[in-house]
Symmetry: C2
Subunit: 343 residues, 2 copies
């Protein structure tokens, strides 16, 4: 069983020789190799230049024994093909220059076409797949409709998503059409990623945790569940990830995903019980622990592995992305610890 | 049964004629009467001038049929008496000019003395108590040690509390001493508030939800539980509130509180089951719903009341504070709806 097989078996809930591990944002600013490239190029340029995106995707693969690579891209990229003017502003994060504030704005959005608008991601996937030579799994990804809708309505990141909730409650039909367009775009994009070599996909509903379960059930679940139904019909292993969603786990399960990704704000065993043991679970170390003294990091990692109790279907990961001040030594030690741990 | 009795009975888990209701930040910027005063005075000045603090505390009492008043103050005020230089910066929130970054900084902190350093809050409580004439309950409050420690270490608010976690993991003994000093200061302050007329107290552990259950159990619970033990010994009804804490509810219960306050990110009935029906529950409407069309607001409020199923011990509240753009009409309608609802 090589690393790719280990990761994919865990996605299917099958027994593995040890717990597979990868990290959200494993390609990123905490690596000196990444910072060297980043200092010379803008983010959008990096995503759109396969030479760079492939190199950056492979950097953590060379440095660590992680079981999977995740393509270097951003959840907002499909929005460009929908007619959105997107910019990554230094030190501020993503900015959307034509946010969605009205029914008319929704109607102006087109559907993105994967080959036409996101061909650069597909090209990077093809090249990474070939470089990996079947030794590590390749993960594609997309943002979930709600999280993308929130970026579109807020015009960027937001601490409270108030405009999004206001639009959702005041213009439920327009919101529904917006979610529908995002769902179609994302579904086609994910299928294209699989055609290009992705062996599993992760859906990031990063902001779903800002919603009450009632709002999630009414306004979000019907759309997200269409994406997972499409993936299931195509036989593609899918991970469904949200943060701050300890109170939404049953609904995330209902929406779909072979594996549910959870953050660190709930014990892994309690979360798995909520989700159901017929699904896998991914997580769930607090990324801040990678900055803690090594003995503390290791103690908390072992606690998580112990809570998984060797049950098939656990993929070790952080509860959110690797943070920029993370020492690479901690990532290396953690990866080896996970692989060496025996339940 | 008047309103004060209704609220206090619910705190004790006793049957009431209808569900009691009050709102976090019910005295605040969404009220024109508040904005008129605020435009002429700084926040610290407002807290420290009993004439103003009493008036602002009573504004929502005059406008709405809420069952309890909460004293107009801030969780950071006790820090001044500990030697902290605190400022509320316009548009930025609180700033601490001498943050805690080292063991030496911890050792320099004194214990605050309620009468000496917080006499103005106690004076405001005495006057409000007399104004209320026993018709509405009077709630005192304090920040929990972890939330105050986070403000001290970060030097203000923080999206991720990384410095706090770093200090906690790297300097566990200094962190323990810091939590100990905060615990002593807060315990004495709460007892003094009760002497001054508070009939119940709420502990705000607003940031506890950023922690993994393991970190909460090890670094926070032993301190918070000392405060609740003190309150219990003194026979004071206590509400324990945190946000984003759907995965911590069992531990919040373990730390203490007659009533656990929950935000909107979990269904009320699921949360109550976690907490246990031998404790009360407070919550849990998304504050954003007060900006939604009235029929949507009312539908969601009724859902929450239905999930409480008439079980004694439910205090209706928002999942967090009233937001500044909230229309007062929505607050009035919601308050009346809660009182008129029959299970």
């Amino acid at each position: 069983m090589n690393r790719a097989e280990r990761f994919l078996a865990a996605c299917r809930g099958e027994k593995t020789d040890c717990t597979p591990v990868w990290y959200m944002r494993q390609a990123g600013r905490y690596m000196a190799e990444y910072r060297r490239i980043r200092s010379k190029h803008g983010l959008l340029e990096m995503f759109k230049t396969p030479d760079i995106a492939v190199e950056v995707t492979l950097q953590p693969i060379r440095a660590f024994a992680v079981d999977a690579a995740i393509i270097f891209a951003d959840i907002l990229l499909p929005l460009e093909g929908m007619g959105v003017r997107l910019e990554f502003v230094e030190g501020e994060g993503p900015v959307i220059h034509n946010p969605v504030h009205s029914t008319a704005d929704v109607d102006e959005l087109r559907l993105a076409h994967p080959e036409e608008h996101l061909g650069y991601v597909l090209e990077s996937l093809r090249r990474v797949k070939s470089e990996l030579g079947g030794e590590r799994a390749l993960i594609g990804f997309a943002g979930a409709p709600f999280t993308l809708a929130s970026y579109l309505i807020e015009g960027g990141g937001s601490p409270d998503h108030l405009r999004t909730k206001e639009f959702m409650h005041e213009e439920p039909e327009a919101f529904e059409r917006l979610m529908g367009k995002l769902t179609e775009t994302i579904s086609a994009y994910l299928l294209a990623q699989v055609d290009a070599g992705a062996q599993a996909v992760q859906i990031f509903d990063s902001w779903a945790g800002c919603l009450s379960p009632s709002d999630y059930r009414e306004f979000v679940l019907p759309h997200t569940s269409r994406i997972f139904a499409t993936l299931r019909a195509a036989g593609i292993p899918a991970i469904h990830f949200a943060t701050g969603a300890a109170g939404l786990l049953k609904l995330l399960r209902e929406a779909g995903g072979d594996v549910i990704g959870v953050d660190w704000r709930i014990e892994l065993d309690a979360a798995w019980l909520e989700i159901g043991h017929d699904r896998g679970i991914q997580g769930n170390l607090d990324p801040a622990l990678l900055m803690a003294p090594l003995p503390v990091l290791k103690r908390r990692a072992v606690e998580i592995l112990d809570r998984a109790a060797g049950r098939p279907g656990h993929i070790f990961n952080l509860g959110h992305g690797v943070l920029p001040p993370t020492p690479t030594e901690a990532v290396r030690e953690l990866t080896d610890l996970v692989h060496e741990h025996r339940a």
